[in-house]
Symmetry: C5
Subunit: 157 residues, 5 copies
């Protein structure tokens, strides 16, 4: 039985973890979800560290929504560096799923973007853990999460 | 008996630790506060490291007030990275509570913002330590510290 | 028998790993290629860490294509720092091969640039592993990957 | 007998270590000063690491003067991150005392600023080591080093 | 017998290592030079790590020449952070000698700058290793590498 950690925040304006967990459960069985909600994105790295250490997670999904201010951008960089540090030290994947408020100015678009990105990152997390070799079949195909895929530069070859 | 470390600075222009500690004590019992005051925000990460190592803190609250100059912004980034590094290495939460002078140009507003943010981060610290599952009930609700909550994108669903 | 790890992404719009692996195999024998495809560039450091730890790779080639948005630039910096951290902690080389979409606005140019850079970094990876002393003969010669060499400042001396 | 490491540079244009050491000695007794001069600010973190490891320093004072060019600013950030990393790994304080040439365009002002900041950071270093609880009495008072104190936001309360 | 590691790149447009090694040898005896040439500046940290670990170097000199593009600046920052991380983890000095193409637009000036900076950093490396106390005599004197010294703020005192 694998263990998937899901870390999310009360700062985000969409409950992305709910969408991610629902999508994970639609992918298959053989895993257990461990959720930890923290105040903001800078708290996610330690939450993941604890999910790996205390809960023996095999992979973590870190969901966050940086605010629109300049300072929020800096916070997001520090949070990303912390998630990177944690993943490298643990040697286990952390799928970072951040949605910036500035990416979708209208509330409805933000909700849709956050839901879709959370769902698509959840699929990636599941694939990384259970079918890692499936990803190689889509190498270099310009896949995106939350927006339409960019696609490969040359579609026919 | 849990132990909460509180690290703050003589550089800050508001005694945020006083507000934070008072709020912590209003939340409940079962913990002891360990305070360490250092000169500036760049000294906070080592202070937290020592609170974890020497004083066996279970969580640290790091309070600081970066100045208005461009160099102060850079210092704040380095300090944040140091707090991140410390939290990840220890595997224990550090609740970072920084108030930028530039966020509230008028002194009275700065005092109010600093007090409120310190109090709300103190509540978060207490919750993380004693009632971590309470946070999940507010996931994705757009909670803020020091300002009014942004709220969820969709209030009704 | 040496082991070369190749980490690439589904986000990239060119299958750079295919070009890199073909070039590696043209260089000689005595090694085995281990490939791991992940969603995006921020997932490359942990992929390399796992290639070193679980697959006993002696060197990794990390291939990625940051998108054109400002946020993609920041992601690339965090990914680079993660690859750096991993290489330093393992004490083993990670040849980073990133192609920025902004480097070649036209699709055909992007394909050519990505292919050439992947091929030339693959040659570098092979040389680092099997003939490290060959590189010293080209020290300070202004070699480039994907573009024409800049050449040494003084060609005759 | 405590040990205070003092690391400084030949790049700086003021002998800040001389002022810092004189001030340390005026604060009291019970410690020994260990000095290590290196070429530039990027060499300070390893100098501190060696002062902690080889000379058993209990605290380090790192003095530097970044030049006026844009590249010097970047060097200062890397140096600061290195000092942070060293302090966190050792779990011991490094008091960073940097004076930017751009802070005082006139030579006489630069000399005065560098001297005062070195002296005031030396007092902080001594206090951190010998009377850490004294700092808490000045928490949130807007203390500055090298310039006049900013003071607390509310002087009367 | 001390060991000095010299790491350089094929990307640089001047063979700085040649100048550095010649200068090292003019300084005295009692050491052996170990050279490792890598493709680019981001490969220097692992090269130094290997020189410390596998070749038992006591100090490394890392020579590189970041290109003129904006992306090269970012690469240089990541490379610098990697060198910093390596030096701190090893507790041994890495003398970073980077020459930015943008510092000397004319080829002849770039050659001269690169040669002089490599030579002066080589002298620093030798001094750090064999006569560390000599540096203290020049503390705060505004020494520079590759350009004329800035000098101390007050020449007479």
């Amino acid at each position: 039985m694998k263990r998937i950690g899901v870390a999310d925040t009360t700062f985000a304006r969409v409950d992305m973890a709910r969408y991610a967990i629902r999508t994970l459960q639609e992918q298959g069985t053989g895993f257990r979800v461990l959720r930890r909600t923290v105040p903001g994105i800078k708290d996610l790295p330690v939450a993941c560290r604890q999910l790996f250490r205390d809960e023996r997670a095999d992979l973590c999904l870190a969901l966050g929504m940086p605010g629109p201010a300049e300072l929020d951008r800096t916070s997001a960089e520090v949070a990303s560096m912390g998630l990177m540090m944690t993943g490298v030290l643990e040697g286990k994947p952390i799928v970072e799923c951040f949605v910036y408020e500035a990416e979708a100015p209208r509330p409805a678009d933000l909700e849709t973007l956050a839901r879709r990105r959370a769902e698509e990152h959840a699929v990636n997390a599941f694939t990384l853990l259970f079918r890692p070799h499936d990803l190689a079949r889509h190498a270099g195909e310009g896949l995106r999460q939350g927006f339409a895929d960019a696609g490969p530069v040359r579609r026919t070859q």
